[in-house]
């Protein structure tokens, strides 16, 4: 059976489409955005992370490890990654959840069970399920399966995508997707490559083809101060969009709430010290985009 690698399922999600939603976060992303606030979603692999502050030094994880990959080192637990087979025995045994597995293999049945739990809230609020990530399109086969199931069961679906996938995959899923939340970040392809790890060519191509066959697409534009919040980029994006059949743009202010997660997964944060855009700045950008005739909303 096909299984998806999922890193989180967030219920009562209010910012990823209309109504009360459940957001399913797929693990693994082909992009590497500097501002990513879910860094643990980047790798396609399951991972084990360790929070020193939660550890009570009971040593149960070391005892239980079948491959002897864990040991104490200066008050903290270290793991020999070459040795470890990710059996997750330590994650299960750890009494304080200091060791946590990130990523869980889930079948369509598993996912539908979780998604359907909040059906009554979707129905009352006009909500549904949003597939986000990571990049959900990177696991297109199972994504398609789950989307089809949702369609069958009358659950509204949204796909939150970076647009970085094959057109084949888009073609497959768009018929069973009610709403796309499509990220556009930078029009300058070089800058795009610098800050996200990939050029924007595939992303824009896909969008141009998608607008021809799907009429419910919201463009999501993260506003990252000093990286893409300049007038030039905003205007260029608007000019570009005006050629396409999109009407709605959501602008999402940058925030650094993900910064602690970088420590947890032992990665450097490249935007240390960067502040969120001011409300005033967001409002100005909103007005600028509105002038092009779009419906604009700050936040999702």
């Amino acid at each position: 059976m096909k299984k998806a690698t999922i890193f989180n399922i967030q219920r009562f999600s209010l910012h990823d489409g209309p109504g009360i939603r459940t957001t399913v976060f797929f693990k693994g992303c082909p992009l590497d955005c500097w501002w990513c606030h879910n860094p643990e979603s980047k790798s396609f692999k399951e991972e084990l992370v360790f929070s020193a502050s939660k550890c009570i030094h009971c040593g149960e994880c070391i005892e239980t490890c079948k491959t002897q990959s864990l040991s104490f080192y200066k008050d903290t637990i270290v793991r020999n990654e070459d040795n470890c087979n990710l059996c997750r025995g330590c994650d299960v045994i750890c009494p304080t959840s200091a060791i946590e597995a990130i990523g869980k293999k889930m079948s369509t049945i598993d996912l539908m069970k979780e998604i359907e739990k909040d059906r009554v809230f979707y129905e009352e609020s006009g909500g549904g399920v949003t597939f986000s990530g990571g990049e959900p399109l990177s696991q297109a086969d199972i994504l398609y399966e789950v989307l089809s199931q949702c369609k069958l069961k009358g659950i509204h679906t949204a796909v939150d995508t970076s647009g970085y996938g094959t057109w084949n995959d888009f073609e497959k899923i768009h018929k069973v997707t009610d709403l796309f939340l499509y990220d556009i970040k930078l029009m300058d392809s070089k800058a795009h490559e610098k800050y996200t790890g990939v050029t924007n060519i595939i992303i824009l191509n896909n969008l141009e083809r998608l607008v021809k066959c799907h009429d419910n697409i919201i463009i999501r534009l993260p506003i990252i101060p000093s990286i893409n919040d300049d007038d030039e980029n905003i205007i260029e994006i608007c000019n570009y969009l005006s050629k396409l059949r999109v009407r709605q743009v959501h602008i999402l202010p940058y925030h650094d709430t993900g910064i602690d997660k970088y420590t947890k997964i032992n990665e450097d944060y490249r935007l240390k010290g960067l502040k969120s855009p001011t409300e005033e700045k967001m409002f100005k950008i909103k007005e600028k985009i509105k002038a092009f005739g779009y419906e604009v909303k700050i936040g999702g």
């Binding site: 209010l14 009494p95 304080t96 809230f121």
Partner: protein, 792 residues
């Protein structure tokens, strides 16, 4: 700092007076009651004795008209001055000293009061009060359970009450009731009815009371005229003359307008809470619907403006707040540690014909609630699927201000609960909720709560084979040594037997107590306004109401679910712990076994996360409790039912229980209402709602779910919509009630450190709101903890 919020100067002044007056004990009622008993006891039947005592009170108590007020009448001689009820509970001098000295929920007691109490009250009542009669009538088994904290006893210091007015007092005067009483008297069949004498005495008593309340009202009219004579301010003089006119009219006659309707109700309210110290005071119930006909007419005729109506309502609001709950001591204080006396105004819901009951007065009442922000009266909205979303949103705007009012009830579920219990559909539609969350057929039902029941303590005793580990006493059954349990089902079987055992003890006691009240402490005044006491010629306390329901309230469903889930999961399924090791950890309160405590806390399927592994256990415990209580007969020809609410009892019940297998430390509070254990719900509000809705609410007479939101989550129009959607979803799943705390733990911590800076901080406790400063430290900590784990 007083914020304007739209109150006018008069209301602001009255509100300030209400909030700043010091609660103190008034000895007046105790003296008058003693005089009456000295004069009449043994010379007349008991109902007539009670009626004559009531008349003596109404004819002689001090009349108080506060400066500037429009609605008049106090229970004591002045705002916050609180009478005692020595016929129910004769306090010792030590009790009075404790009331005077205690830091929270104090009542100041003057030397003069102490003197009169010791010279006049104690000699007459000591050994004769209901409290003495009751305790002396209980078996040693009952006493042991009471001391162990298995259950509490509501009638130990206060009288049954737990009832609410319907529309008849807004349509009829006591003149009309007297006619009904006379007709009933005339129809007694002295030849064939063996109860004829009792009925006649009861009806005579009611007649005396009907006259007495009219006297009481007229005395206010006279006082107003007297004040008018010397009043220099002409505007006030006219007001006093108007007050006099109203007081000469109601409640003897039916009210003709908005003002008379409010004043008439208020005299009846005072009558009920002066006759006895009824639990949950008294309550006008569906106030918007009762007042709407008057409001509509007068607005159309131009004799009343919206502002006039609001001012009168706000004056009315202050009157509730002027009457703190009568002083409690001991366990009764611990189970209900608040000045709030639980009058709870119902807004919205449906009309008797089942149509949408929201009207202009509903919105006006919401405005009043928002402007007044007083502890009393409490307020709630009754939300039916027939009510517009706009109505919930208006209420949600107030809720998100964060002080816990109004709470939200599912009017459709309330109706179904009532119908399941055998009420007619019309009586059910005119019902609602009172106190904290209790369902009742207003004006027609005695729905009497008899005590909280400590579900978690029963588990503790089961795990100790019938012994209470706190005292070493054997008070339960010998259901077997837990080391020898072969399966989780065996444990559940043992728990079920223990629970039945303790419910039997509670009901054995209740049956005696109900009789003691029926015989010794009738309430003929209250009986006039609750159908069908007049028709039957039977007192409210003896089963005179059309419907008689007796409740036992389950406490700690979250804690017991998680505790059982931990045993099932770690001992029987994963076999990671043995029962012996677990019991050893509990006995030592997890000292040296923090890893076990952490495991129990973090790796147990827990209630509140929409996880069937835990929620199915919750359902099983609920069903065991339900089966043990529901449907049993009472001494008032009524029926036993359950509900699930704690007031402040989850703190007391926690204090008598050692460490529990959910990782809870010894002596700390239990979960409250049907909310998950504080901080254990990790998947947000939809998961909590789903878990809570797995309980069959319709089989209860009320459940209480607390939810918290961090400020900000409910911002803007979208926030109001989301709250509305959450509420509607819970109610679609037949949830009974939900209430919200919108505050962050940081603010509460600051308030705990600097109470003087947060004097006006009000938080939702459990079924009511209270000043954070009024709560004891344990309860403060409990609320901080339940607020701490916010999502988003």
């Amino acid at each position: 700092m007083t914020v304007d919020r739209g109150m006018n100067d008069r209301v602001k002044k009255l509100r300030l007076q209400s909030e700043t007056a010091i609660p103190m004990i008034s000895i007046e009622r105790a003296v008058l009651m003693t005089e009456a008993y000295e004069k009449y006891e043994g010379r007349v039947s008991i109902p007539v004795l009670r009626a004559l005592a009531f008349k003596h009170l109404m004819a002689n108590k001090t009349i108080c008209i506060n400066e500037g007020e429009l609605i008049v009448g106090e229970r004591g001689p002045a705002p916050q001055e609180t009478p005692t009820y020595p016929e129910l509970c004769c306090h010792t001098l030590e009790d009075l000293q404790i009331m005077n000295d205690r830091e929270k929920i104090f009542f100041k007691v003057s030397d003069e009061v102490k003197k009169i109490h010791s010279e006049r009250i104690i000699p007459y009542w000591q050994g004769k009060s209901m409290r003495d009669k009751l305790i002396n009538s209980m078996t040693s088994q009952w006493q042991d359970c009471y001391e162990a904290g298995i259950f509490t006893e509501f009638m130990e210091q206060r009288a049954p009450g737990h009832t609410v007015a319907d529309d008849k007092i807004f349509k009829k005067g006591f003149k009309d009731f007297k006619k009904d009483i006379k007709e009933s008297l005339a129809s007694i069949d002295f030849y064939n009815d063996p109860q004829a004498y009792e009925k006649a005495e009861e009806l005579k008593a009611m007649e005396i009371c009907a006259d007495a309340i009219a006297v009481f009202a007229r005395r206010h009219g006279e006082k107003a005229l007297e004040l008018a004579k010397t009043e220099k301010n002409q505007v006030r003089r006219l007001e006093l003359e108007k007050i006099a006119e109203v007081c000469f009219r109601v409640p003897e006659n039916s009210p003709r307008n908005f003002w008379e309707a409010l004043q008439g109700y208020w005299f009846i309210h005072l009558g009920v809470i002066t006759e006895l110290n009824t639990w949950d005071a008294f309550d006008p119930g569906r106030l918007d619907q009762h007042l709407y006909p008057f409001y509509k007419n007068e607005i159309a005729e131009g004799t009343l403006s919206k502002d006039n109506a609001k001012e009168l309502l706000e004056c009315f609001w202050v009157k509730f707040n002027n009457q703190p709950a009568p002083p409690k001591v001991g366990i009764t204080l611990q189970e209900s540690g608040t000045y709030t006396d639980f009058a709870n105004i119902n807004i919205g819901g449906m009309k008797v014909d089942g149509s949408d009951g929201v009207n202009d007065v509903s919105y006006l009442l919401l405005e009043v609630v928002n402007e007044m922000r007083l502890l009393q009266p409490s307020s709630n909205i009754q939300v039916s699927k027939k009510n517009p979303d706009q109505f919930i949103k208006k209420a949600a705007e107030i809720i998100r201000e964060g002080w816990g009012q109004p709470s939200i009830f599912n009017a459709d579920a309330v109706m179904e609960e009532l119908i399941r219990q055998g009420k007619s559909i019309e009586d059910a539609r005119c019902g609602g909720t009172s106190g904290c969350v209790e369902t009742g057929a207003f004006g027609k039902e005695a729905f009497i709560l008899t005590g909280y029941f400590n579900l978690v303590k029963i588990l503790e005793i089961t795990l100790n084979n019938g012994i209470d580990p706190r005292t070493g006493k054997r008070i339960g059954l010998q259901t077997g040594n837990v080391d020898e349990l072969k399966s989780f089902n065996e444990l559940m079987g043992a728990f079920k037997r223990q629970l039945k055992h303790f419910i039997d003890i509670k009901i054995y006691g209740n049956n005696i107590i109900e009789k003691l009240y029926a015989i010794n402490m009738p309430s003929p005044f209250l009986s006039i306004v609750i159908d069908d006491c007049i028709k039957k010629g039977v007192d409210y306390n003896a089963g005179g109401a059309r419907y008689n329901t007796t409740y036992i309230q389950g406490v700690g469903i979250g804690t017991i679910t998680d505790s059982l889930s931990a045993i099932k999961h770690h001992v029987f399924e994963n076999k990671r712990l043995t029962m012996g090791k677990l019991m050893d950890s509990l006995n030592k309160d997890f000292q040296e076994t923090e890893n076990i405590r952490q495991l129990l806390l973090n790796k147990t399927p827990r209630y509140g996360n929409d996880d069937d592994a835990a929620d199915n256990i919750m359902v099983e415990v609920f069903n065991i409790f339900y089966e043990a209580v529901n449907g049993r007969k009472t001494m008032r020809n009524g029926t036993y039912r359950i509900n699930m609410l704690p007031t402040t009892c989850h703190v007391y019940f926690g204090s008598v229980i050692g460490a529990t297998t959910d990782g809870r430390r010894a002596g700390t509070p239990l979960s409250e209402g049907i909310s998950p254990v504080q901080g254990s719900d990790r998947l947000g509000p939809t998961a909590v709602i789903k878990s809570a809705a797995k309980m069959d609410h319709l089989k209860t007479g009320g459940t209480l779910l607390n939810q918290k939101f961090a400020p900000g989550v409910l911002d803007g129009e979208t926030g109001l919509e989301k709250l509305t959607h959450l509420v509607r979803s819970y109610f679609r799943l037949d949830g009974h009630h939900i209430q919200f705390n919108v505050i962050d733990a940081k603010t509460l911590r600051k308030a705990q450190k600097n109470p003087e800076k947060y004097r006006d901080l009000i938080v939702r406790v459990a079924g009511y709101s209270d000043y954070f400063n009024n709560l004891n430290k344990n309860l403060q900590n409990e609320i901080i903890e339940r607020t701490e784990h916010k999502q988003l």
